[in-house]
């Protein structure tokens, strides 16, 4: 038994070591840094809670935080609803179901650069295809990424397109677990397919809805690359998001302590959402035992 324990720790060691050095240590350092003023060049100076009071009084912090939440609101509901509908369609009696699934899923594995530069081209005001199509139906609007009021929705649309496949896959997995006998019983009772979908499938997939909601919220809260590539935070700061603000404060202006204070705030938000994810995962695990 002693030997068993020794082996256990030995096997765990390579991971444990890297985990301690590259996750735990930076996390602890991060907590400490938030209480210092430090520009990387001179010695760090302890300033107590000052970074946090600066943060709460910084309109740019609140603005970028709001943009992040706004982005979550713009993306997550669509990722739930469209993901569900497409999964139901793909799961219904159609030809080429697997081929279609593959193609719906494919954009999800493309890198953010490919997705965002392609969409940047679609949105392009003078020769982008979206403006051209809209013009053909009588809508004369070209300012997608250039107008502060449409820039964030445009980035959200790109993101929905990019990650919808993930929702679809999760929903398809959920649909596989519903027993066909339930639908057969409903058919005998005279339910049509609309009723079957919304009165049986929707409530039965409760756990999948929760899961998609949490995972896509976590993903959307982390938004950075799309903005970095498509607008750089513009126009006029309208798409600047929290991670970008942290990134700029840290890596551009070298306000390490201040950036880290905001990073801690972000950590707390993610932690709260993560707890929910945790509970979903653990509950799922105990259901099986």
């Amino acid at each position: 038994m002693k030997k068993r324990a020794l082996n256990g720790y030995l096997f765990f060691l390579p991971f444990g070591l890297l985990y301690a050095v590259f996750l735990i240590y930076p996390l602890i350092q991060g907590f400490r840094m938030a209480f210092y003023e430090w520009d990387l060049f001179s010695a760090p100076k302890f300033i107590g809670l000052q970074n946090f009071s600066t943060m709460f009084n910084d309109p740019d912090f609140w603005r970028t935080l709001w943009h992040t939440i706004y982005f979550v609101i713009l993306t997550v509901p669509f990722l739930l609803i469209l993901g569900f509908l497409i999964a139901v369609l793909l799961n219904s009696r159609i030809y080429f179901g697997r081929v279609f699934r593959t193609l719906f899923f494919f954009p999800y594995v493309l890198s953010i650069t490919i997705v965002c530069s392609t969409w940047g081209f679609l949105y392009q005001p003078q020769f982008g295809i979206i403006s051209k199509i809209l013009k053909a139906v009588g809508i004369n609007y070209t300012g997608w990424l250039l107008n502060p009021s449409t820039a964030m929705p445009a980035i959200a649309l790109t993101t929905i397109w990019w990650t919808l496949g993930f929702s679809v896959i999760l929903y398809l997995a959920g649909l596989q677990e519903i027993s066909p006998t339930i639908y057969e019983a409903a058919a005998i009772d005279g339910a049509n397919s609309f009723q079957k979908t919304f009165l049986i499938t929707v409530p039965l997939l409760r756990r999948t809805h929760a899961l998609v909601l949490v995972l896509q919220t976590i993903a959307s809260l982390q938004i950075f690359g799309q903005v970095y590539i498509m607008t750089g935070g513009g126009p006029n700061g309208a798409t600047r998001v929290l991670i970008q603000y942290i990134y700029d404060q840290g890596f551009r202006y070298f306000k390490m302590g201040y950036a880290q204070a905001m990073a801690l705030f972000f950590f707390i938000i993610m932690f709260a959402v993560g707890i929910i994810q945790f509970r979903l995962m653990l509950r799922e695990g105990s259901d099986k035992d």
Partner: protein, 268 residues
């Protein structure tokens, strides 16, 4: 049950709209600058000018090799480290086993963005900035993978292990000769899943690699596009080049990828 032609048609039309951006990307990559400016629907001929331009003017080949090397080595490391750590968590009964499990579980709660600055400073102190290992080593630490594989190990019936134990096999032998072959689906899923995630990562290489020779493909292309904003034909050609390897990879390993996603999300 009979399949519906009407439903198939509806899904097909929706799909066409959905993948239109990709079709447009491919079509536009063969257009001349003039054809893009004048918004011609189709190029007059298959023009590979944009492709030769991007190969000549950017480091796309080098970035591709960087990405390949980093993703392959990291994935290899992930599989080894994950297999080793998941075995005691999933199968060995010893004092502290539960503690290690919860410690690992806690790790999935730490988002990279929250620790990117201290971790950057750590890599700087270790002299790992602009080094392959500066990306590879941190990529190897992924607690989620360990939980997935540990759970899979847990589900393997005891008989397999007991038979080997009676023959006097060591833990190491049981892990690599009994457990690993049985856990192949789970290991395949986390490998493919890790590979794609690392290949596509943007934030971390952006921070670690500042020397343009060391860029990964996503960061290199983004920087390159940023400096040539008006050359959309070239951008689309670059996107086609960058999509191709991932497309081939996707076609081969799609099932494992889907398993990785759904297992990570739904089960355990």
């Amino acid at each position: 049950m009979k399949k519906s032609k009407l439903l198939t048609l509806i899904v097909f039309i929706f799909l066409l709209i959905y993948i239109f951006p990709l079709l447009w990307m491919i079509i536009s990559s063969f257009k001349t600058s003039l054809e893009i400016l004048t918004q011609k629907l189709l190029p007059s001929k298959l023009d590979f000018e944009n492709y030769s331009y991007i190969f000549k003017q950017s480091g796309v080949l080098r970035w591709f090799l960087n990405s390949s090397f980093i993703s392959l080595i990291s994935t290899f490391g992930v599989v080894i480290i994950t297999t080793l750590a998941a075995y005691p968590l999933g199968r060995l009964k010893f004092r502290g086993n539960k503690f290690l499990f919860y410690l690992t579980l806690a790790g999935i709660m730490i988002p990279l963005q929250a620790i990117m600055i201290p971790r950057y400073l750590l890599l700087r102190d270790l002299g790992l900035l602009n080094k392959y290992w500066g990306l590879i080593i941190p990529y190897m630490v992924n607690p989620m993978n360990i939980l997935i594989v540990a759970q899979f190990f847990k589900g393997i019936p005891n008989e397999f292990e007991e038979a080997a134990r009676i023959d006097g096999a060591s833990d190491l032998y049981i892990l690599f000769r009994v457990m690993v072959p049985l856990a192949r689906p789970a290991l395949a899923a986390i490998s493919v899943f890790s590979f794609v995630g690392i290949w596509n990562d943007f934030l971390w290489p952006l921070i670690v690699m500042t020397d343009q020779k060391m860029y990964t493909l996503p960061v290199g292309l983004a920087t390159f596009y940023g400096s040539y904003t008006m050359k959309y034909g070239v951008t689309m050609a670059g996107n086609v080049i960058a999509s191709l390897p991932i497309f081939i990879f996707f076609m081969i390993f799609q099932e494992q990828l889907i398993k990785g996603l759904t297992v990570g999300g739904l089960k355990e």
